[in-house]
Amino acid sequence: MIEFELNGRPVTTDEDPATPLLWAVRDTFKLKGSKYGCGAGLCGACTMHVDGQAVRTCVLPISAVAGKSVTTIEGLGTPDDLHPLQSAWVEYSVPQCGYCQSGQIMSAAALLATNAAPSEQDVDAAMAGNICRCGCYPRIKQAILAVADSNTVSDLATEVSS
């Protein structure tokens, strides 16, 4: 039996401890916002926060999150209560197919939580693990830098959870 916190709520599961966190979250806890893209930690579509750090959960066994706090895109913000990055994503029409965007936003949120005023190079470095096949990179960068420049930045140091 493995216990952890998922978007602020305690959860338990008795499935195989080797099960990647991504699949426990999607298949057992039915949160579908985090995506499978490669199964090898190469594309970032599965990115969640574990104790505030951006982690590739398609290769992270649930045994590794026992006692830890996991935040998914659903815990970061909702359509009625958007994280500032999500507002910027909508405003700048960042998504195309949209499939990678949960992972992109989680990586960006982890960056801004520790670096409220990143340079373009900081953004490139933090986001290089997230592939967007549609090529939304110019807008992803624009949206992140816009949030960093705005006065909402002080809200970002604290991990948001529901």
């Binding site: 499935e15 195989d16 099960t19 699949w23 999607r26 298949d27 057992t28 039915k30 949160l31 579908k32 916002g33 985090s34 995506k35 499978y36 893209g37 490669c38 199964g39 090898a40 190469l42 594309c43 579509a45 998914t72 895109i73 659903e74 913000g77 909702t78 359509p79 958007l82 999500q86 994503w89 909508v90 405003e91 029409s93 960042v94 998504p95 195309q96 197919c97 949209g98 499939y99 965007q101 949960s102 936003i105 953004v123 490139d124 470095a125 986001m127 290089a128 693990g129 997230n130 592939i131 967007c132 096949r133 549609c134 090529g135 939304c136 990179y137 110019p138 807008r139 992803i140 960068k141």
Partner: protein, 733 residues
């Protein structure tokens, strides 16, 4: 260049059609037209056509007939309806339409498919007309209900306006439902456009920024089991026998069944299915492709260049013209097999019961998905509901639906709802591919810098026959299995004699004025499955054509932009795009050590020119900035067009710099993003987009931004290094 029309009786007839995108014309005479539309069952709703549904609470739904794979079609087509219905596009609830003949693509002969950059072009008049007609009947109903002359009524954003009072459209739907809907209401004049040509946030932006957008992979049905397929190492391999004893003893595993592409392992959880799949032993019967490597493909193509080939286009006297030209150049070009690698791997949820079935999947053809389920479950089409989801990328990949067949077979064999998912390795190694191509161009220029002769040849496989073969069972679900097998088999043999598939040579010769032209095609197909890949033939022909033009400009002693302008008198729109891009290029000031390269190409009725600013550092090509000038007629959503150009440039840059699949004993050597890499944010250029103002009818933007980028980069690399690169991906010596 021809297409085949398949009628329900199975007759085939050929008719002329331009290459590009899906080219299957499908006439469903008398079939499906009386089938109920797959609209939401909402009380007291008014749905006068397949596209618009208005409820008394004044919620306006638009059933989007084309598939949203990122190209912005839900935003674009909603804008068309919104304009003449007079409702703000952001106020619509957009539904992804299920399968029904009324959702056919007018540019595909009515087949329900999305591709070929057709959606805006094909639906521009139809959806505006649908909006205008519904607005007219709402006004008729309002005049009746309010007792006011129709001439005193106007509309504003979903409201009927009379004097100072505003009445929601929803107030009049009960009366409207009793009236005749006009069919030919005059459309707004472009000068009166409120929404067309303006920018507003994409309509799918909110759901896609909050993890709430539903893709096929996200569908979750009660009692659903998860399936993965153990696939043949070489495309076309068949199961001889398999041993699943070990797999069946593993936790959660309920069934192991044979499907058309291999052996499906079914378990309660996806992870359990993947672990058990490793324990299945399969004895495969492998096709002749097992003896083929990339080196052999290249050698065979090289040898085939010596053959005369089949004629695709001819004009004038090429032999004489070559002898008389002041400058003659000949060059060969190579482009490899490519996978689409959409971020969402292929998947489908299928639930087959005794007399009915449901399929949920994000596809470029919900009607094909419906037909495939009917065919493989032995049901009538009208008893299969096809539920369309968002597509996590399409790029042509989601028109070939083995995933739907596999899930159907697994559901039939297990009596369970099946969620079937491909791994990324399945996607790279077991998919359908952009064909490899070898091209040869021999061209001559006269003393005035005018192209005198263009002789081109392409060697490779043809896309259309392969795709037809895969899609046919989906179009002919009602036929007895034996007849379908016969048609597919017949198609197979018919296509062996296929002369020239339009998609194979499209873009190789059409853009520039040339009095003497000869284009030929040699078909060489080693059995690698082929399909449409974003911009199709243009994805490789533009590279050959535009690198050749750069070389010809050099031998003619002309500036590359001037040389192109000098040979575009019969293509004023493309010429204008080249002129504008050339002016921007002249004003660009590349950083020290950087070089600029130019390319232009017309595809899918849209004209694009691009300038790439490139540097070469430690043997690595780096693209810093791209200018893109596009003329696509009336710009429906300028920001969506801009996004498509940005995305096409970056998608095309991945192919230009990295995209390469190798065959090793018939198997694709690459398997995931470590050896089939994508351009990432730190490698992505800035992209500046210029949209040419136009009042011409709109044309597509999903693909035309892609073809010019590889040659623009190659031409810049030449200026930076003096190396003329003629093979993709671009690799310095």
């Amino acid at each position: 260049m021809s297409t085949l029309n398949y009628s329900r009786r199975g007759f085939l007839r050929a008719s002329g059609v331009a290459g590009g995108g899906l080219v299957v014309g499908f006439s469903l005479s008398g079939c499906g037209g009386d089938t109920a539309l797959p609209l939401k069952d909402l009380p007291d709703s008014f749905a006068p056509n397949a596209f618009i549904q208005i409820t008394p609470d004044n919620v306006v739904r638009f059933y989007c007939p084309r598939d949203e794979m990122g190209q912005g079609v839900t935003t674009g087509l909603t804008t068309l309806v919104a304009e003449d219905l007079d409702v703000d596009p952001s106020a619509f609830v957009v539904e992804l339409a299920g399968a029904h003949p009324d959702y056919g693509n007018p540019d595909f002969g009515g087949m329900q498919g999305t591709g070929g950059s057709t959606s805006i072009k094909a639906h521009y008049q139809q959806l505006r007309q649908a909006g205008a007609d519904v607005r007219a009947v709402i006004l008729d109903a309002a005049a009746k209900d309010l007792g006011v002359a129709r001439s005193e009524l106007s509309t504003a954003n979903g409201h009927v306006v009379v004097g100072d009072s505003r009445h929601p459209y929803g107030n009049f739907v009960a009366t409207a439902a009793t009236l005749t809907v006009p069919q030919d209401t005059p459309l707004k004049a472009p000068a009166d456009f409120q929404y067309i040509g303006t920018d507003f946030p994409r309509l799918d932006g909110m759901s896609k920024s909050t993890g709430t957008a539903v893709y096929g992979i996200d569908v979750d049905v009660a009692g659903m089991h998860h399936a993965v397929v153990v696939r043949a190492p070489v495309a076309g391999g068949r199961v001889k026998s398999f041993n699943a004893d070990a797999a069946l003893s593993m936790p959660g595993v309920t069934d192991v069944v044979e499907v058309v592409t291999g052996v499906a392992v079914v378990a309660e959880k996806y992870w359990q299915a993947t672990q058990a799949a490793k324990q299945v032993d399969v004895d495969w019967e492998l096709p002749a492709l097992v003896d083929v490597s990339t080196a052999r493909v290249k050698a065979d193509y090289q040898a085939a260049l010596q053959e005369e080939g089949e004629e695709a286009a001819a004009e004038g006297d090429v032999t004489t013209a070559l002898a008389q030209s002041a400058h003659v150049l000949r060059n060969e070009f190579w482009a490899p097999y490519l996978a689409h690698a959409p971020m969402e791997p292929m998947n489908a949820v299928v639930w087959v019961r005794e007399n009915e079935a449901d399929v949920w999947s994000g596809t470029q053809g919900p009607g094909v998905a419906q037909g495939l389920v009917a065919r493989y479950a032995g049901l009538d089409t009208e008893n299969v509901r096809s539920h369309q989801t968002y597509l996590g990328g399409g790029f042509g990949r989601r028109a070939t639906l083995h995933n739907v067949i596999e899930a159907t077979q697994a559901s039939v064999a297990t009596n369970k709802p099946i969620h079937l998912l491909w791994s990324r390795e399945d996607d790279i190694r077991n998919g359908v591919y952009r064909p490899a191509s070898m091209m040869q161009i021999e061209a001559g220029v006269d003393d005035n810098g005018k192209l005198n002769v263009w002789a081109a040849k392409r060697v490779g496989g043809n896309i259309t026959p392969e795709t037809l073969k895969n899609a046919l069972p989906g179009y002919l679900p009602g036929m007895p299995a034996g007849v379908v097998d016969w048609v597919v088999g017949f198609a197979d043999s018919a296509f062996e004699g296929w002369v020239v598939d339009g998609t194979s040579v499209e873009g190789l010769y059409e853009d520039y004025d040339t009095p003497n032209v000869q284009v030929s095609h040699v078909t060489r197909d080693h059995g690698v499955p082929l399909t449409f890949w974003r911009s199709v033939g243009h994805s490789y022909t533009a590279f050959a054509k535009e690198v050749m033009m750069d070389q010809l400009a050099e031998v003619a002693g002309m500036d590359p932009v001037e040389f192109r302008l000098n040979n575009l008198d019969s293509k004023p729109r493309l010429k204008n795009v080249v002129r504008i891009a050339g002016e921007h290029m002249a004003a660009m000031q590349p950083a020290p050590g950087h070089a600029l390269g130019f390319a232009a190409h017309s595809s899918f009725s849209t004209d694009v020119a691009e300038v790439a600013e490139v540097s070469v550092e430690n043997g690595q090509i780096r693209v810093h900035r791209v200018l893109c000038v596009v003329d696509c007629g009336i710009a429906i959503n300028p920001d969506v067009i801009k996004a498509q150009m940005e995305g096409s440039v970056i998608f095309g840059l991945t192919a230009a710099l990295y995209g390469d699949l190798d065959l090793d004993q018939g198997a694709i050597r690459q398997s995931n993003f470590h050896d089939y890499p994508m351009v990432r944010m730190n490698e992505a250029p800035e992209v500046e987009v210029v949209i040419v103002a136009s009042d011409a009818a709109p044309t597509g933007v999903g693909e035309p931004g892609l073809p010019p980028i590889a040659p623009a980069v190659a031409n810049a690399v030449y200026r930076a290094t003096s190396q003329r690169l003629t093979e993709l991906p671009l690799r310095l010596a």
